[in-house]
Symmetry: C2
Subunit: 351 residues, 2 copies
Amino acid sequence: MYRDLSERKKKILGAIINAHIQFGEPVGSKYLSQNEDMSCSPATIRNEMAELEALGYLEQPHTSAGRVPSELGYRFYVDSLVERYSMTTKEIEEIDRSLQRKLSEVDQILSEASKLASSFTNYTGIAVKPRLPRTVISRYESIYIDGRSFVLVMLFPDGQAKTKTMHLGFPISRVELSQLTDALNDKMTGITSDRITFTLLSELERAVPSISSIISPVAKAIYETMTDSDGGDVKIDGVDNLLDYPEYSDVSSVRHLLGMFDRKDEILSLISAKDDDKVNVYIGKENSVDIMNNSALVYRTIKRDGNVVGAIGVIGPCRMDYSKVISTIERLASGIDSMLNPKDDDLKGER
Amino acid sequence: MYRDLSERKKKILGAIINAHIQFGEPVGSKYLSQNEDMSCSPATIRNEMAELEALGYLEQPHTSAGRVPSELGYRFYVDSLVERYSMTTKEIEEIDRSLQRKLSEVDQILSEASKLASSFTNYTGIAVKPRLPRTVISRYESIYIDGRSFVLVMLFPDGQAKTKTMHLGFPISRVELSQLTDALNDKMTGITSDRITFTLLSELERAVPSISSIISPVAKAIYETMTDSDGGDVKIDGVDNLLDYPEYSDVSSVRHLLGMFDRKDEILSLISAKDDDKVNVYIGKENSVDIMNNSALVYRTIKRDGNVVGAIGVIGPCRMDYSKVISTIERLASGIDSMLNPKDDDLKGER
DNA sequence: TGTTAGCACTCTTTGGCTTTGAGTGCTAAC
DNA sequence: GTTAGCACTCAAAGCCAAAGAGTGCTAACA
């Protein structure tokens, strides 16, 4: 697709995008010939630029302005020109150090990752926990607290656990509690939330006749837990970073972006769609999220035991320092990956 | 303090604030005499306005503009003039219905409340979970999963429970696990996180010599859990609502506000400071959070069993529809309160 | 045939200028 | 104490000209 570009065109296109990323303003022929050692005159560059514009890689805000990369141009740049930003040892150390403060739960890791992504890149960081396929509970345990309350522990197949503290209006004995637990383990394991039916509840009530009135609130708690963990979540940090960039100096553009953050579902589905192991870049309207008018999204998914458990990324203007952002996300994501999938040492850390 | 204002001054001040809230622009004498049936001429009103300005209730952006309420003016308005907004049955129903979708955990209730506050008022909703006083764990339980992993359940004095799933690099037996649990219950209950010392860990290791290498990761998990739940949290929703108001049409003012949202700590400490049962209103610089330059904060705390577990509120421009906002927050908060503190029915719902 | 210099042309940006209009403060009359 | 009248102030809007940046085109050149 990009075969038809001569080396010189590529060089010019790359130089324009670099300059535009740096200064945020349209780039003119004179600037290029002077500062980017093009070894040809402005006039020649103008000719090339005119052709690049005809091919769709460049755009002109108005007649007497320089050229600005189009979304196609950025795409080309990201795909082929971008040289990997080589991080300084200091930067690498800083990222690694930040990750050291190893947080235990996936949720927390992601939420922290969003902050890190934001602070290292100066764009807006996002972290996504995808909507999981329907969860089933594989085992129940209960912990007796006192005559009127107990903790219900629900274990999921992936080893996660959730708890609910139940307060009852009437006393319950340890024996009854263990009957209840047995009944739950007998009837309520391995099923999805939509299979919790009235029939099932009646069966349960029959299994523990002495405390049948407890079934309904317990079932409700279970149902809530199952449906809860279905939900995806999107964390966003550093929105105010964006306001430093002229593309968002207009309130309406900010509103666009903020509006998108409220429609987190779209981000969720966008990111959940693709789950390869590399950093992905969506530029402007390329993606279904049409609100991302003048913005780009760089992200990478996070896996654990081969399953996607989340993603981290960065949102910023199309004119983004891609090489730096990509490297940062790359390193953050792989750092998190290795935290979540520790090598088989003598003793693994907890999750 | 406000005794010295004549009835007519109060009326004029109130009319100015109402008009300014409605239109967002400085209010002139002519407008008042025409539209608010003042029964006196513009000139008279001008005299009164000049005095109100001298007293500090009004301000003039520049010589030839109308008057704008000062922060003191708003404060006066909120304290004495505001007539409680009477909600329509429809609005009340809608709030109640939204609250019906009763979410179980405090965290979720608050996060949902923030969305509700935002959508009912069209300002920015915030929900706060305060930094709790240092947490201690009152009891440990463990659930055996398989030879190499188990779930550690930690119970807090208030009945909450947290879990950590531990994956080990070596096998552990049920007996050893219960030894571990006993040791934890013996040595690690009732202490704050800063008292988990090396000495304590050594004692623990001595208590379970056969699996002493497990102590360190377990202790780490416990420490993390304890320090986690210390942390407060602030949820914010509907930031983009604000952009509809001209006060925030300037990017720098938006940045101010967004910056504040990143410094959630300040909001946290502000709200945690006062814990009475009524709706509080902070206007502009009244509060320590000096960033709230041109903004006001309306909130009310949420209690459970007499303890503050959070707060919900709204942030918007000083020029805010206080009567509506106050009623909305009032109703939301009391609705949540009653969800969290159910009447003693036969069977209480879970928490 | 590709490159370059030169030049006319376009179009935004900037600054200064005036006009407009809203709203005030003051004074004098009621 | 209230009101009408009037001069005054000042931001906002509109207008115009000048400046400046950058282009496209043409013609000369290698």
